[in-house]
Symmetry: C2
């Protein structure tokens, strides 16, 4: 992992809401209600559930999720009209290893 990515990941992690999102996604079952059309959390949690939990505006959360995806922290998957987001554990591992 190169330095540019480390900077962008660190920027994502330097905001409490974004840090919360990353933490909530560790255990979607206990932090979010079940999805209606998808019966599992294999691809993570849909954006609207995350937005609802944060109490910030839809546009803000969409921007946050997008920047977290761009730097690699999250993986997004589109199912119909919903976008699901889950943690990218491999990128997180690389980020940790950078500081070893």
């Amino acid at each position: 992992m190169d330095e540019l990515n480390i900077i962008d990941i660190s920027k994502s992690l330097s905001n409490p809401v974004r840090l919360n999102i990353l933490n909530w996604l560790k255990e979607p079952e206990s932090n979010f209600p079940p999805h209606e059309t998808v019966k599992h959390f294999n691809d993570g949690v849909c954006a609207s559930y995350i937005q609802e939990k944060t109490q910030l505006s839809q546009s803000t959360i969409s921007t946050y999720l997008s920047m977290m995806e761009k730097c690699g922290l999250l993986i997004s998957t589109r199912h119909g009209k919903w976008s699901y987001f889950k943690r990218n554990e491999e990128v997180l591992r690389c980020y940790r290893e950078y500081f070893e």
Copy 2:
């Protein structure tokens, strides 16, 4: 390590100059000239050497080093009129573990 500290550490790490400083301090011998009054790097590197290497102003680097110390990333030690800075490996370990 609580969330507040994670935020402040992430902020420190989200600036390329500060990230460089942290990396340089991994190997002071190969990144800095020897000190004159102190014959080792046991307490890290003095602020003026770091400032010189970054090419930023003295006040900027002093602020950077201070914020990196406040969040725990660095340990500072005063020897006479010089302040030495070294990595705080324990805090770095806690930071890494937070994301496991």
